[in-house]
């Protein structure tokens, strides 16, 4: 006895599930490209250089938070020599004024949920 039909159906189902990202892409109208973000109001440059910020802003924020909340240090000497006040709302959002059009647009694309805004003020949006 051969169960060829059953096996082929099973294989087909497996491949169909595996190809989910492809057929979702075929049916979706969402733009696959990296989203365009609101430009900073102060174009002079970010706290650290942009490549570093894109990849590691979560670490930077984490360090800032620890420094302020645990160690009481409030100023951050950047690699460029400038000093920044370590403040999420005051510093980051001072240049990136709209959290929805900046932080959250990128986070939605990468499916990241952050809880910071439940306590910190996000100037515009939310």
């Amino acid at each position: 006895m051969r169960d060829r039909t059953g096996i082929i159906l099973g294989l087909g189902a497996f491949l169909l599930i595996l190809a989910y990202p492809v057929w979702q892409a075929l049916g979706s109208t969402a733009d696959p490209a990296r989203p365009a973000l609101q430009r900073s109001v102060d174009p002079s440059g970010c706290v650290e250089d942009t490549t570093y910020m894109v990849a590691r802003h979560q670490d930077l924020l984490n360090t800032w938070r620890t420094d302020v909340v645990r160690d009481g240090r409030r100023f951050y000497p950047a690699t460029s020599g400038k000093e920044y006040e370590m403040s999420l709302t005051g510093t980051c959002m001072g240049c990136h004024t709209d959290s929805q059009a900046f932080c959250e647009r990128c986070h939605a694309y990468a499916d990241v949920t952050i809880t910071c805004w439940s306590c910190h003020v996000a100037p515009e949006g939310l």
Binding site: I7, A25, V54, A55, D59
Partner: protein, 329 residues
């Protein structure tokens, strides 16, 4: 030695991916090889399964280890000795989702230094089940980089996986479980002399490959992070068949991606084929109906037989004459 070969191979492959991308071959490692690898995986796997599907299975050969269904007052063990399809489905589901066979793993122990006995050893089962489930969940989590918009169940899995909100970004439970279980499986392979003796490069290589994939993934998320948004743009380019290679992705990511490509391409030629294989194991997926119904081998050679009845018809007179007993007068 076999182990060192596997370690060397995996390290070399990772370096090839990383240095290749650093040398400007992002199109090769980010687009061409991933497509090739997925193609090899799909075609290789399908070819293998179709080959298995064409193997005839004329008889029922399940391994049974419990009471077969017989008289009404004898309790049958339907999972150990399935008499029909629903029982087989139950048996297969437990096997595939719960690795039930591994629960039978034993170890030899000496009691009082003289008496040899066998005891259950659940460590292999625990390591295997943690490793496989963690890998499935990690795969589902990766869908966040392959789909746009991200479906709700992926976010749900991420939230549960990061339930304890340790670290920023959150350290997923399954990342730790996956690496821990793999490390145990490797330790086991090395620590038990019998297992070590029968281990080949083909056993170590997938272990180290998975360890390196998990390790580099963990590293990319928690230590040297890269531009995830651009990574997603690269991956979505692949699923939309409109590949792009953003410039800001670190070479580490290409090392990770190349190892995944190697895993996919290697899959249909390796012991990892037990993934489709477990569904097609005749010792598990057949109902034990050897006595309930008659199974005739369809390609039996038509042997010319001379039955006793024919023999007696031929020689009846002589047999009666000689006083031999006959069945028909």
């Amino acid at each position: 030695m076999t182990m060192l070969i596997a370690v060397g191979l995996v390290t070399a492959l990772f370096l090839v991916g990383m240095l290749g991308a650093a040398a400007g071959l992002q199109w090769v490692f980010g687009v061409a090889l991933p497509y090739l690898a997925v193609g090899m995986f799909v075609i290789g796997l399908a070819a293998r399964v179709l080959r298995w599907a064409n193997v005839p299975v004329p008889f029922r050969i399940p391994t049974t280890c419990g009471q077969q269904r017989s008289l009404a007052w004898i309790r049958p063990q339907r999972l150990e000795n399935p008499p029909d399809t629903p029982s087989v489905i139950g048996r297969m589901a437990l096997e595939i989702l719960g690795f039930r066979s591994l629960l039978r793993n034993t170890k030899t122990v000496m009691i009082d230094g003289r008496r040899l006995t066998y005891a259950t050893d659940l460590a292999l089962w625990a390591g295997a089940i943690v490793m496989h489930w963690a890998m499935l969940i990690a795969l589902i989590r990766h869908l966040r980089l392959m789909t746009n918009p991200v479906p709700g169940f992926v976010t749900l899995v991420e939230r549960f996986d990061g339930f304890f909100e340790v670290g920023m970004p959150v350290i997923y439970l399954t990342s730790v479980a996956f690496l821990g279980a793999l490390a145990y499986l490797l330790y086991r392979r090395l620590a038990i002399p019998e297992v070590r003796y029968i281990s080949l490069v083909g056993d170590y290589f997938p272990l180290f490959l998975l360890l390196a994939i998990g390790g580099s993934g963990f590293w990319l998320r928690h230590v040297t992070t890269t531009d995830i948004a651009s990574v997603k743009a690269l991956v979505l380019g692949l699923t939309h068949f409109a590949p792009t290679v953003p410039a800001s992705i670190s070479p580490l990511f290409f090392g990770h991606l190349f190892l995944v490509s190697v895993l996919l391409a290697y899959f249909p030629f390796s012991k990892l084929l037990h993934m489709p294989g477990v569904f097609l194991s005749p010792t598990r997926n057949l109902a034990n109906t050897t006595r309930i119904s008659r199974h005739v081998n369809p390609w039996d050679y038509p042997v010319k037989v001379h039955t006793y009845a024919e023999y007696e018809d031929e020689l009846r007179d002589k047999m009666i004459g000689a006083g031999l007993p006959v069945e028909k007068d």
